[in-house]
């Protein structure tokens, strides 16, 4: 059985989708079998980082929720998007994205009608089973809602991203409190967009002290990332960049979390 990793932030624009895309690509390139769910049905976007412009309404998370397609039919193989970018990609790796529809009508419908969150659970476990995945990442809508909480409840590791910002800090405390009530097993914080002159060790200690949860990484605000503007999966193009290195360390932690030994034999060096 693979691991579900859910990625959250209390506020938008924090860097969830970029981190999700980069982490999943890093692991797939290392030879793991990975799935990604875009559960941000209100403001979908991670597909753009994998070079997808159109999400057909007939094969999307939305279509799966309406019972119009199976979860594997909603999943797109995005492994080809990683190849040729510069970083060698292991032949045993796999990367499937279940995108959310970007059609106005579809977004309006799902916000208005809602859906049975139980189906999200079935879909995540179903895709994991179908493609024999080692990791499934769940990219989420900012804040707290039913699918956010569901992904926390079923995940092996929950990552909450925040910026060094008072609003982010306060909101993150709310998410942490709810995650605790759901007996969240492994909760990790990542501070993103830290000022380049800030002392990361001091920032880590202060956030940990304020929120009572471990910070696995402090990532600097990068002009290069701003300029790149979600134009692809950054770490596949610039593997030596600080951002990519940080993503690599988080990936190491995820591999180590739980049943690392069982997964490591899949790695092809």
């Amino acid at each position: 059985m693979g691991k579900v990793i859910s990625i959250h932030s209390f506020r938008g624009g924090t860097g969830k989708s970029n981190l999700t895309a980069n982490l999943s690509a890093t692991l797939a390139a290392r030879g793991y079998r990975v799935g990604v769910f875009d559960t941000d049905v209100a403001s979908p976007g991670i597909h753009v980082l994998f070079g997808i412009n159109d999400v057909p309404a007939s094969a999307s998370l939305n279509a799966y929720f309406w019972g119009n397609c199976s979860i594997q039919d909603a999943a797109v193989d995005v492994m080809p998007a990683l190849e040729g970018a510069g970083v060698p990609v292991s032949a045993s790796g796999a990367l499937y994205l279940v995108p959310a529809s970007i059609e106005t009508g579809e977004i309006a419908r799902i916000l208005h009608d809602g859906y049975d969150v139980g189906l999200l659970n079935d879909g995540i476990l179903g895709l994991m089973d179908h493609y024999d995945l080692d990791f499934v990442f769940v990219d989420t809508h900012p804040g707290v809602n039913e699918e956010t909480l569901l992904s926390i409840a079923i995940s092996e590791v929950t990552i909450i991203i925040l910026r060094p910002d008072q609003q982010d800090l306060q909101g993150t405390a709310v998410t942490i409190e709810l995650a605790r009530q759901l007996e969240c097993k492994n909760l990790q914080l990542i501070v993103n967009k830290a000022h380049r002159n800030a002392d990361h060790a001091v920032m880590k200690a202060s956030v940990e002290q304020k929120l009572g949860a471990p910070v696995i990484e402090v990532i600097a605000l990068s002009d290069d990332m701003v300029q790149f503007g979600s134009g692809g999966v950054y770490c596949m193009r610039f593997p030596d960049h600080d951002y990519s290195q940080a993503v690599g360390r988080v990936a190491d932690c995820l591999v180590a979390a739980g049943t690392a030994s069982q997964l490591s034999d899949r790695r092809v060096s």
């Binding site: 049975d116 969150v117 139980g118 999200l120 659970n121 079935d122 476990l125 039913e146 909480l149 569901l150 926390i152 409840a153 079923i154 709810l178 009530q181 759901l182």
Partner: protein, 343 residues
Amino acid sequence: MSGPEIASGVQALLGGVRSAASPFRTYLKDLHRRFANDSEGRVADYIPELAKAKPEWFGISVATVNGLTFEVGDAQTDFTIQSVSKPFVFGLALEDNGRDHTLSRVGVEPTGDAFNSIIKLDTKSGRPQNPMVNAGAISTAGLVKGAHLTERFNRLGGMLSRYAGRSLPVDMAVYTSERSTGHRNRALAHLMLNFGMIDPNVDETLDLYFQQCSVLINARDLAMMGATLANGGVNPLTKEQAIAPEYVQDVLSVMYSCGMYDYTGEWSYRVGLPAKSGVGGGVVAVVPRVMAIAVFSPLLDERGNSVRALKVCEAISKDLGLHLLAHSPNRRRLTELLPGIVD
């Protein structure tokens, strides 16, 4: 919203998420799929309103004593409570009159007869044999206190609503239909009046009884009602006391010995849980201190029990080791599917 309202809203949200994430939900979905195409049995037609039920309707709901709720299929489709009301009203009669007086009006002995058998009264006392056959249920309804019909029904309906955790309506069409066609029940009531087993306000008590049978519920309500019994009379979500804890055992005992019409012996042998069935297609089975299972499917067998409900309950009882009389039930699967529910 007030502080406690927000807190209970958060708990409801978390509860919904916990059950959506639970492997027990997947188990119930598989079970539902397994029996969905099983179309054995037929829809009750003794009153026209019941005949309108669709044979494909099929819902399963489970509520646990720690407040988790699960539902699959048509768990929110309304149906009339019918005979499933009987054990709950027996509980109210006990609260209103105590054990001695209640048991002087209705016994607790199984009959082995069909639910509508004309009458089988205790030869010496003239007492109907148990609160689950129609004669006993009418005599039990007669014990519900109140100055007039409205007050009596408000107390009875309020009691059922406390079990369910929401205000339950009455299906007026079914009520009127039962009322105008319930000749057999009228005859039973008058016969019992003759034996002194029911007070002289027979017509009022019959009206109360017909209303009681016409309360609209769905599988989710029924699971909550059962879970309230499993939880010592306290609704696991609203925390309201629906019945005094000392009478819970009385209610569960008659369900165990008389709850499934003339199939009760075999049911208790195979499933081993106190349960109650109704011709509306609902069945509730109670696992004391753990949970309740409610199944709704209007396809009935010749005894008046929902066929799919029998199959679902038997499967769950076997799969999860729920038979109450098993010496060392294997509850490993139950603990896996619902961690923290049994010690």
